[in-house]
Amino acid sequence: MLTAKLSAIDLTLLRGERCLFEGLEFALNHGELLLLQGANGSGKTSLMRVIAGMLSLESGEILWDGEPVSRQRQSFHGALVWLAHQSGLKDDLTLVENLRFERALRPQSSVEPEQVFVRLGIARLKALPLRSLSAGQQRRVALARILLADVPLWLLDEPFTNLDRDGRRLVTQLVEEHLADGGLCVLAAHQDVEISATVKRINL
C-alpha cells in the first residue's frame, strides 16, 4: 500500500449537507490508469479536485510517494497537470501567449512546444486569439498544456468533451503513451473508455 506512487486512505468528503464519498481508498502505480466513473453530479469532479489538493477533506489523506500531499504541496503540484472542466485559457490571448503563461506555472519542463503543436494539429493556429477557435480546437489547446507540462501525474476531467472521433482517438493514444512511459493518469468520464493499460476503477 505504501509503496504505491499515488494513494488515498479513507477519504471522506462532505459538501454542505451531502456526503459525496466515505472511506474511499485507492492506490495507483507507474503505468496505471485510475478511471473515475459515475453519473453527473456523483462527485467525479470533486474527487479530482481533492486529488489536486483544492478541497479539504472531512477525513483521510492523499499520499504521493508515501508522504501526505498536504505536507509537500508545492512539489506535488510540480508533478501533476490538471485538465479541468473549464479550459483555464484566456480567450483574448493567442495560443502561444496562453501556453507561455502555462509554461511559467510549471517551469521545469523541457518539452519543445513546436512538436506538441504539430502533434495536436494546432500548429497553424498559433497566432490567433483563442476566441476565434472552435470548441474542439480550444480543447486541443488545453491538451497541449498537458503535453507541455511534462509531468508524471495527469488528472483529466472529461477529456473527450467537444472532441471529434479523431480527437478522441488522439487522447486515448496520448494517455496510452504516457502510461507506457511510466506515467500515472486519473481520468474521469461519464461514458466508457477503452484504453489498453492497467485500469483501476472507482464507481461513484
Binding site: R15, G16, E17, S56
Partner: protein, 250 residues
C-alpha cells in the same frame, strides 16, 4: 494538557459544560453590575468638571472595552480554527461577532449621548475613540456580511477567519492613525484615563462594572456558542441521542 483542551473543545462536551457555567458567570456578573450601577449612580461623588454627566462612563467604558474584547475572541477563534482546524473555535468567532457589534453600538451611542451635554453636539469627529469605534463597527458589519454571503459553513468559517485576522492588524493601525489625525485637528478626548488620578469612590464602581460586564459577556457568549454548536452539529449522533434522552438538552 493537550488532551484536556481537546476534550474541552469537543462539541458535546462544551455544549454540556457551557450549560453549567452560564449561571456561574451570569449571577456574579449581574450582582457586580447591580452594585456598580447603584454605587456609580448614587454614591460616587460628582465630577468637579463634568458634573453628573460623567456617570455615563459606568456603562460606556465597559461597552467600549468589550467591543475590543469580542474582536479579540473573533480573531483568536479564527486563528485557532485555521491553524488547528478546531471546529469549536470557528463557532466562537461566529458567536462573538453579533455580540461585539452590539457592544460597539452601545459604546458609540453612550459616547455620543455623553457628547451632547459636553460638546453641545451628538457627534464629534475630532474624538479619536469615537471614530475608532465607528470603524470597528464597520469591521464587524463586514465580518458578518461575509459570513452570511457564503452558504457553506466550513468555507464561511475559514474566509471570515482570514478577514478577522487582517482586521486585527488594521485595528491597531486605525488606533494610531486616528490618534495622529485628531491631534492635527485639536481633537478632544472623551474620558481621561482612570487610575491614580481618579477618586476611589468613583473608581471602585467602575471596576465592578467592568468585571461584571465581562462576566455577563462571557455568559452571553457561551449561550450563543451553544446555539452555534447545536446548529452545526444537528446531524450528528450525539445531538440525536441527547434530544431523544428523557432529560433533553435545551
Amino acid at each position: 494538557m493537550w488532551n484536556f483542551f481537546k476534550q474541552l473543545a469537543s462539541p458535546p462536551h462544551f455544549y454540556r459544560l457551557a450549560a453549567t457555567i452560564i449561571p456561574w458567570l451570569a449571577v456574579p456578573g449581574l450582582l457586580l453590575i447591580a452594585y456598580g450601577a447603584y454605587a456609580g449612580l448614587f454614591l460616587a461623588p460628582e465630577d468637579y468638571q463634568q458634573g453628573d454627566a460623567y456617570r455615563i462612563i459606568y456603562v460606556h467604558v465597559p461597552a467600549a472595552y468589550l467591543s475590543m474584547m469580542a474582536y479579540m475572541f473573533m480573531a483568536l477563534g479564527g486563528a485557532i480554527g485555521l491553524v488547528w482546524r478546531m471546529k469549536l473555535a470557528h463557532a466562537v468567532g461566529a458567536a462573538a461577532a453579533p455580540l461585539g457589534a452590539a457592544f460597539t453600538f452601545l459604546a458609540l451611542v453612550t459616547g455620543s449621548i455623553w457628547g451632547r451635554p459636553m460638546w453641545g453636539t451628538w457627534w464629534e469627529w475630532g474624538d479619536p475613540r469615537l471614530t475608532s469605534e465607528l470603524i470597528l463597527l464597520f469591521l464587524y458589519f463586514g465580518y458578518m456580511a461575509l459570513r452570511s454571503a457564503i452558504d457553506d459553513t466550513a468555507k464561511a468559517d475559514k474566509a471570515s477567519a482570514v478577514l478577522a485576522l487582517v482586521g486585527v492588524v488594521n485595528v491597531v493601525v486605525v488606533h494610531f492613525s486616528v490618534e495622529w489625525w485628531s491631534s492635527l485637528h485639536q481633537g478632544q478626548t472623551l474620558f481621561k484615563k482612570g487610575g491614580p488620578g481618579m477618586d476611589a469612590e468613583m473608581l471602585y464602581p467602575l471596576i465592578a462594572m467592568i468585571v461584571g460586564f465581562t462576566l455577563v459577556f462571557g455568559a452571553l457568549l457561551a449561550r450563543r456558542i451553544r446555539t452555534e454548536v447545536l446548529h452545526r452539529e444537528r446531524r450528528t449522533r450525539w445531538v440525536r441521542e441527547m434530544i431523544l434522552s428523557p432529560a433533553g438538552g435545551r
